[in-house]
Amino acid sequence: MSAGLQIRGLSKSFGGLAVAREINFDLAPGDRKALIGPNGAGKSTFANLLTGALTPSAGEIRLDGRDIGRLGEAARVKAGIAKTFQITTLFQDLTVRENILLPVLERRGAALRMFRRADADAQANAEVEALMAQFKLNPFAEVRVGDLAYGQQRLVEMTVALALKPRILILDEPAAGVPTGENHLITDAIAALPADLSVLIIEHDMALVFKVARAIVVLVAGAILVEGAPREIAANPRVRDLYLGSRHG
């Protein structure tokens, strides 16, 4: 039994259409892996299989040796898997503080309390303050998320996932829609993540991938084509053909 995430023979098909084929994948504590691949390669499907939004057709997902492949979404969050969303689904009408307080309360098992103010839980408040400080969000604490700039929203997105104290963090296109000028907000935030956290980044932006990832997995047509260090991947002719070539050629 080893620590981290081990995936063996993970497959998923819709009807006759295979969108994930026999995927073997490991993510150890402290890893910073990126998952890349052309559109429709099955990156989002893979992420959804990890979070439990989809159930696999075959294969197993183990977290620290425990099979979590059949657990539902809520149970996987409890087991330690969190994911940020590609398209923002934050609570637009709630403040930044409330957006972060909610996952903290859920994680602490306090969400069913009815006769105590949500903002009167000293421990939860301290945790929210610390999280906001980590991502420099304190000045926006009482701002409606819907009124924030997009780059800041992406930071809230990451903070919400971290508030769940995950051991595996999946970042689904963390920089999507962020203006290039604000990209450093995202890379800085990723660099500041806890060292022992396992991070899987799903991203289109190659510059960002090469800046933050220490290993890259290339997914094509639902199967892993190759896995390696960024330099090996950049030099791999098949990857250049299939993916990098078409985008950067």
Binding site: F91, L105, L112
Partner: protein, 321 residues
């Protein structure tokens, strides 16, 4: 840090005190209209319960009268079988409505949108038909005539409706205070989260379906209280409590005032029922002209409800400056 919650608690107390004052003032200002005022108060409780389910948690329903009716029949049956202490009837009404909400919620909360709207209507219609059909128990289409005993064995309902008014007013204050506390609680915050984004709630580990069932059950209990009070104050329960019109009217009152913040429920109910009382006594079809025009005006001018009007005006003024 610790000052803020205390401040908020004071503000909540001040609001409750203000409501109590208004209710008292109405008691002395309209001594001859207490029956109508009691109906308004009971409807306020009903619309408040709808506000929690629909305004706060975002569950679209056109079948809230199913829960009102369950509460009314439970209270009515209690009274008809000799348990005519009113508070007991309210507890029974709340419990019965919560039970109906739980049972139907297990099924309803799996759906949303038009399907949910239609299914909530269907549940109400089925209950209405059952009330009609099992006339041995429910009195059928004629309904149940009930006689209430004194509240806590002390306060007898009087002909002028004074005790009934005070009784309903106290219930309104209780329900309002309960909802204020609930909405500020972690459970209430999670309910708002579900309205904003169910997908996100799932992603942060909340069992959304079970949470919705809990919300619906709780809202059902409050609607049941309104139903029980209605049965007790009119001494009658008939299948009319399951009318689609009642659900639709409650929805109109809520959106008219502004959903999701409790005051809207109170204000919308007061406006709707007052306009109805005045206009319908003149001519029932004039009433439809007036309410129809009012509804359209609200939707096109202030979609967030009448209570959003001051904000709208303020914003307009700021822009024009």
């Amino acid at each position: 840090m610790s000052l803020i919650p205390r401040d908020r608690r004071l503000r909540d107390l001040a609001i409750l005190l203000g409501m109590a004052l208004v209710l008292t003032a109405a008691f002395y200002a309209f001594p001859d209209n207490l029956a109508f005022a009691t109906r308004v108060i009971i409807m306020m409780i009903f619309v408040l319960s709808l506000d929690f389910v629909l305004g706060v948690a975002g569950v679209s329903t056109l079948g809230h009268s199913a829960l009102f009716g369950a509460g009314a029949y439970a209270a009515g049956l209690c009274a008809a079988h000799g348990w005519n202490e009113p508070l007991l009837g309210v507890v029974a009404g709340a419990a019965a409505a919560a039970f109906v909400a739980l049972l139907s919620g297990l099924f309803l909360m799996r759906t949303r949108g038009l399907t949910l709207l239609m299914l909530t209507i269907a549940v109400t219609e089925v209950l209405g038909e059952l009330a009609n059909k099992f006339s041995d128990i429910t009195g059928g289409a004629d309904g149940l005539d009930i006689v209430m005993g004194p509240i806590l064995g002390v306060f007898k309902f009087d002909f002028r409706g004074q005790v009934g008014y005070v009784y309903a007013a106290c219930m309104l204050l209780l329900v309002f205070a309960f909802l204020r506390i609930l909405i500020a609680s972690p459970f209430g915050l999670a309910a708002r989260g579900i309205k904003e984004s169910p997908a996100r709630m799932r992603a942060i580990g909340a069992p959304v379906y079970w949470r919705l069932v809990a919300i619906y059950t709780l809202g059902g209990a409050l609607a049941g209280i309104a139903g029980a009070l209605s049965a007790q104050s009119t001494s009658l329960v008939s299948p009319a409590v399951f009318d689609f019109q009642l659900s639709a009217n409650a929805l109109i009152m809520l959106i008219l005032g502004g959903a999701g913040r409790l005051y809207g429920a109170l204000f919308g109910t007061l406006v709707f029922m007052s306009v109805h009382e005045v206009a319908a006594s003149v001519d029932p079809f004039n009433w439809l002209f007036i309410i129809g025009a009012l509804l359209l005006a609200v939707v096109y001018v202030a979609p967030a409800g009448l209570l959003s009007l001051p904000d709208l005006v303020k914003r307009q003024l700021r822009f024009s400056r």
